[in-house]
Amino acid sequence: MTHPPTVDERRLSPRVRRLIADAGPLVALIVLIVVFAVANPVFVSPGNIGILLSQAAVPLVIATGLTFVILLGGIDLSIEGVVATSSLVFALTVANDRNDLALGLFGALLAVLAGSVFGLANGLANVKLGIPSFMATLGLGAVGIGIATVLFAGRSPRVLDSGMRMLGQGSTLGIANIFLIAVLVLVIGWFVQRFTRLGRYGYVIGGDEAVARLSGVRVGRYKIGAFVLGGTASGIAGVLLGSQLGVGMPTIGSGTMFTAITAVVLGGTLLTGGRGGVLRSFVGVLIIVVLANGLILIGVNPYAQVAVQGLVIIAAVVATGWRLRTRVRIIK
């Protein structure tokens, strides 16, 4: 009698399955690039590639932070509110047309810190008050929009600090600064994920929280840490957007959350936690940015664009989550 061990369903669907889940997003990205390049050579022109990279910057920063939260099996729905608050803190503390403050880089750091504080609040609400993360972050996201609206006071403060504008608008050696900053965030994120307890325990807790607890891991502390990383990333995104558009606005982050969550999931980080990583999210971000840019370049009707984007996303999510299908027994 030869039968494989009974417990593990992954062995029933061997390497091929795992390969699809692992390499699928990268293959999808390459296919998209080839299709768009053939349909319109402008797509791979140096100019357009530069634009693609700069468009990937803000989603990449947010998705990097969000990856840590999702790896734990949590979710951060406060992104747009945090981005909004951060953009206004930034616009009101660097040289601007509203007040006499001109803190320069220190203002930008304050704005990032505001994001970290939101992340901390998200983590505390989730861990200490036991509120499910989607509810806690949804609430704090609304707080963020509220604070931003108060700071906004009916009119966008304009950023007059030309140095700070260069963060989002300038370029170095032909590459947009905003993308360089995003890559720096990605590298830091990768380092944290690979070389720190915060990063490694994220996988352990997301993979099996009970095992983590039984091994004496202080689960709550690392969960809060992940939310702080997420909030900080949103704070950086707020600064970048504020610098790029030259204003702080409550609506400045609209759409960023959907893009970021989609990118993380597309990249192959499971919403149930434990598997994935920031480099995968980078691939996810590129897929979304390439899709948005390419669909315009090949002249797809604006009405159809949204539908096509949605279909591609659902296809990718089904592909990554397929192996978890069909089991009737409820898995706790």
Partner: protein, 363 residues
């Protein structure tokens, strides 16, 4: 037995109400006589707006104040911070004061409009509404207390501002267009205006139109992409609102093209006006204003004249009770008129005749 008691109860309640009304009436009457010097009728002039911190509504309120100066009445301003429930309850409270009032209101949404006009009708006040109204609800179907509804047609102004863009381009060249949320009524009207202008200007070609959902950041990246798609071919940018136009402007700045490609938008937000003042450097040619001072002043004047009987609502035509106001294209030439409140003299004729700027009936 029971029956009799109940009737007595009603009578008692009625007396209490009358007393209360008399008390309230006395106190407010004495206030009025103090401030207006007894020259006015017993009509309170009221304007209801979203927020004083929002520049558009602040200008609207200034327009109402100009009317107050002109008619020598005190103008009460109600602010609701965008909350329809607050707006409605504050308007209902006006009725409880037992005085005739004239109200010029910017309802937060269409359903609030219906509730407001009904509340005002019950209270015997007079109201002029602007912008939002259910499509199938008309003032003449409700009551003479709903004096008129004023709105704005994006198609006409869309055509005019597009023409300003084309003129700045010298009558020929290629443009790209950023649409608002597809299916949104002003977005459609404005884009229809652009298309009319394109028909009239065969030298202009629309390279591409994309939606940026009224959003600045989205407009930034869509503009980037379109600039890369039509490298060196874009001679002008049309946006369905200033927010997107400002996003496009930042994209041009990032590409080092600011000032070389003309841009137009709509709504006359302060940042757009500032850019228009420097249009040589910014390339921001024009935007469209509904003239909020006129909305505040002429709208209140119309309600007040109806309340005092100077205008007989029953004698007004349908065309006068639901009409489009005039929108003005703001360029470098006239931008000074929109960065500060006008002088009373400039608005006087519109206050005397609130229908002066009518662009025809709402269809």
């Amino acid at each position: 037995m029971n029956h009799i008691f109940r009737r007595r109860g009603i009578v008692a309640g009625g007396i209490a109400l009358t007393l209360a009304a008399a008390l309230i009436g006395c106190s407010s009457a004495s206030d009025d006589s103090g401030s207006t010097g007894g020259t006015s009728d017993d009509v309170t002039a009221v304007q209801s707006i979203r927020s004083m911190s929002n520049p558009y509504h602040a200008n609207w309120a200034d327009g109402g104040a100009l009317f107050g100066d002109w008619a020598d009445v005190e103008v009460v301003t109600i602010v609701d911070e965008g909350d329809s429930q607050t707006q409605l309850s504050k308007i209902r409270a006006l009725g409880a004061e037992g005085k005739v009032f004239a109200l010029n209101v910017d309802p937060n949404d269409s359903s609030t409009t219906e509730a407001i006009v009904k509340a005002v009708t019950e209270a015997g006040g007079y109201v002029v509404t602007q912008w939002n109204k259910p499509d199938d609800l008309w003032p003449w179907d409700v009551s003479d207390n709903w004096v008129a509804h004023i709105s704005f047609n994006g198609e006409t102004s869309g055509e005019e501002v597009s023409q300003a863009l084309f003129d700045a381009m010298g009558g020929s060249g290629n443009i790209i267009a950023l649409q608002g949320i597809l299916d949104n009524v002003p977005a459609k009207q404005r884009f229809a205006g652009l298309q009319k202008a394109l028909e009239a200007n065969p030298g202009i070609k629309l390279l591409a139109d994309q939606t940026a959902n009224w959003d600045r950041a989205e407009a930034f990246s869509v503009t980037q992409t379109l600039l890369s798609q039509y490298q060196g071919q874009v001679d002008g940018i049309w946006a369905a609102n200033d927010n997107m136009a400002l996003g496009a402007f930042e994209a041009l700045t990032a590409a080092g093209l600011a000032g070389t490609i003309p841009i137009v938008g709509f709504d006359a937000v302060p940042e757009a006006l500032e850019n228009i003042q420097n249009s040589d450097e910014t390339g921001y040619i024009a935007t469209v204003s509904t003239d909020p001072w006129w909305q505040g002043g002429a709208g209140l004047s119309l309600a007040y004249q109806a309340a005092t009987g100077k205008i007989k609502v029953s004698e007004l035509s349908h065309e006068q009770r639901a009409f489009y106001g005039k929108q003005i294209v703001v360029t470098l030439d006239n931008v000074g008129d929109f960065t500060k409140a006008p002088l009373l003299d400039a608005l006087k004729s519109d206050l005397e005749n609130p229908f002066l700027r009518s662009q025809g009936p709402i269809s």
